[in-house]
Assembly symmetry: C2
Homo-oligomer: 289 residues x 2
């Protein structure tokens, strides 16, 4: 079966899912996006994603042409049509198709909504993949990293460099302090204390990060919200990163420096288990609806 995508009101075979070459998402990166995890056909923490989408849209002065409830119904329909069990659902909203290519916002142009799914293991990821190598690189991105925009070239280039160096993720730094991962939020553990940078314009407010921090609070774990340096990361007892598609990913090395004993740390494993249970709770909720 071919994947089905959603494009502005239509469910289409992925090969027919196209947008105009005048779409401002294509010409300017003028759009914002979300990626939510799916397990057992159910979206994980989706309302937190949709609320962040609303904030991103607001930051770029773009109005969603349908309400979030309707958008979430479309998401569910897309999962159903793809008979999707596990993976991610990608969703973006751009400023639509304007006849003239001008930087300024066009008048009377409807935003363009695109969604598609990607089948992959996110909960049932194999144990031997839960061992991420991280490379650090300078953070070259723009200054409004709180906006989840589709203008992602800096992240593409950074993650590619990490990949070419045998690493799974990049941790970007600015003034010697880690900002965040190329597509994730970065955490370190010093003894039994978690450290993670405060979210503001310098990094994206990760949905999985937020959920993990709620679990940290529920479990009364020690937590300090502050930037940490590259050197602190090297010397951490544990390290991990979070995202909608990897949940809680243990880091075993940073710039080839082994973290802890080179295996996923105990507190990291505990947090992954807690997050997995949190993720599964959405399946139960859905089934009880």
């Amino acid at each position: 079966m071919k994947d089905i995508a959603y494009v502005n009101g239509n469910f289409l075979d992925i090969n027919d899912a196209k947008v105009s070459v005048k779409d401002r998402g294509l010409l300017f990166g003028d759009g914002v996006y979300e990626v939510a995890g799916v397990i057992e056909g159910v979206l994980i923490d989706n309302w937190a994603h949709l609320r962040r989408l609303e904030r991103s849209l607001d930051y770029i002065s773009l109005e969603l042409p349908i309400d979030l409830k309707t958008l979430s119904e479309v998401q569910k329909e897309l999962i159903f049509r793809n008979n999707m069990k596990e993976g991610t659902l990608y969703l973006h909203v751009t400023r639509g198709e304007s006849q003239q290519r001008e930087f300024e916002f066009p008048k009377d142009v409807a935003p363009s909504i695109v969604m598609f799914v990607q089948h992959k293991k996110i909960l049932h990821i194999s144990q031997d993949k839960l061992r991420a190598k991280v490379m650090t690189l300078p953070d070259l991105r723009w200054k409004r990293r709180d906006i989840k925009s589709i203008a992602l070239l800096a992240q593409v280039l950074a993650k590619q460099t990490a990949h070419e160096n045998g690493c799974d993720e990049v941790w970007m730094y600015e003034d010697n302090f880690i900002t965040e991962g190329g597509s994730s939020n970065a955490f370190i553990i010093q003894k039994n204390k978690l450290i993670s940078r405060k979210t503001n314009e310098t990094i994206l407010s990760g949905i999985t990060r937020q959920a993990v921090l709620k679990l940290v609070e529920q479990e009364s774990l020690l937590f300090e919200e502050r930037p940490f340096s590259i050197e602190e990361a090297y010397q951490a007892s544990e390290a991990f990163y979070t995202s909608a598609s990897v949940f809680v990913m243990p880091v075993i090395s940073i710039d080839e420096k082994i973290i802890g004993d080179g295996n996923p740390g105990p507190l990291t494993i505990k947090l992954r288990n807690l997050y997995e249970n949190f993720a599964k709770s959405f399946i139960n909720q859905e089934n009880n609806e």
Copy 2:
């Protein structure tokens, strides 16, 4: 007559000119572009644009699937098919369409080439439009501004803010010094000396800027290549900006502060005339080929 666009080998009615929702230009801003001016159906300084395209492609490790000569033939064909006299030709190359949305470069994916034209006055712009108002705003862009990437959201938002404030262009600044315009290079004149920032990673190497600087040299005009402050811009005797679609645009105010006597300055007009003649020289070259 409907506009004709070029998409990966095909000349299409603009309404049929589409790309996949999986095009990495759309999903990541993973592509680079050029806009060249056209007068009397002839591309202005196009080889300088194509050579810059090659540099941009090289910076993002993307290989053009056809050679520049062939690309320029396609450009000419597109102008011919659109019966285009005056305006701009837009051209971009993205990393193509990959089935999986992953940040890392996909393997065995052909880059995607898109071109379209925009009819508008660039040489025959009316005199009353040669009076630009400029607004200054912080430069929020990423650090590799020498790459002419399609990830342009920062410029979109800045130019929109300028537009909402009744201005024609934004001049962005960093550490109190002007970097460049939202889609142009910035110049000021102190007495009879031109000042313009040196091109490096902090700004794009403008093609029109380069041509103007060559004219400045030929005419033995005074020129200093260095950053200038916002305060210096306010107090300049003349100011202007350059781009492929506005040539040399006189600035009459910056942040509502009147520049000179509030009219295009004499040296600016001289440079515009020199550049117009330079632009027209391409028509003669083409006709003699």
